[in-house]
Amino acid sequence: MTQTTERVELRQAPADDRPWQTVVWNDPVNLMSYVSYVFRSYFGMPADRAERLMLRVHTEGRAVVASGAREEMERHVEAMHDYGLWATVQRDGA
């Protein structure tokens, strides 16, 4: 092995540090009771938070339901689609 003398810069540029988010979108079909149930049972949200986010989806058209690593957000999206909700992955601030 060669001796390395340079320090390897592992930190990404500041712009890449923005976390990823899972966003749930409103649709005219899904029942409010069902959306709230999904937030509680899948994400383990307490009832009042689930209700608040469900209402935000309903009234504002969308809500951020999770934030973190990209792969994790993609898994959440897949789970939401399993339940019949529509969710997408985005960068924070998008």
Partner: protein, 200 residues
């Protein structure tokens, strides 16, 4: 049907013969709609899959990279052309076509397979008379009822929460729309009551 109630051994409802037949028919149709997307090298674009076996050149074939890729993932990359299917299997990224395609390639087949499996549970358990669902069966029903409502809504052209658009006059198309609208409402009742029973 009666609203679902939670009992000691599961979730109980009662379907009459017409309701059971309807629900089984819908579940069967949903399975049929999903089925092409559950096979390796399924519909749509994608480099892998069994289609690669017939491509000249390249590494296609069981021992080749393309062939293996198709067997493992085999998902398409483009959204389904059918608008109802596209709603069941939507994009994961709104503003990044490449990321959406990659994610779809990795996940679509699994999603379609799980939805098809849920529909088969409903097909097997939607009987006339008393219906008692265990926990897993109830979860399959919850997801299938939702998927069915999404498909029916698409066919009805439901764009907002006011529900199905009103038909004009007694044409055949409107008869069908009215029947579909009744199905949509019935599915909504079933879904709401099951959510309430499960979500105590």
């Amino acid at each position: 049907m009666r609203a679902f109630t939670r009992r000691r051994h599961g979730y109980l409802t009662r379907l009459d013969a017409a309701e059971a037949t309807l629900l089984r028919s819908l579940a069967g149709q949903l399975g049929g709609l999903l089925e092409p997307l559950t096979a390796p090298g399924a519909a749509g674009s994608g480099p892998g899959g069994m289609g690669g076996l017939s491509e000249p050149g390249g590494l296609s074939g069981p021992g080749g990279i393309d062939g293996l890729d198709g067997l493992v993932f085999g998902g398409s990359e483009a959204p389904p052309e059918d608008s109802a299917l596209a709603r069941l299997l939507p994009d994961a990224y709104r503003d990044d076509v490449e990321a959406s395609r990659e994610w779809r390639r990795m996940t679509e087949r699994g999603l379609a397979s799980r939805k098809a499996a849920n529909a088969r549970v409903v097909l097997a358990t939607a009987v006339s008379g008393d219906v008692l669902l265990g926990e897993e069966e109830a979860q399959a029903w919850l997801r299938t009822l939702t998927d069915l409502r999404l498909v029916v809504a698409d066919r009805l052209g439901i764009l907002d929460e006011d529900g199905p658009p009103d038909g004009d006059g007694p044409s055949t198309a409107d008869e069908q729309s009215r029947a579909l609208a009744e199905v949509y409402d019935w599915l909504g009742f079933a879904q709401e009551s099951l959510v309430r029973a499960v979500d105590r």
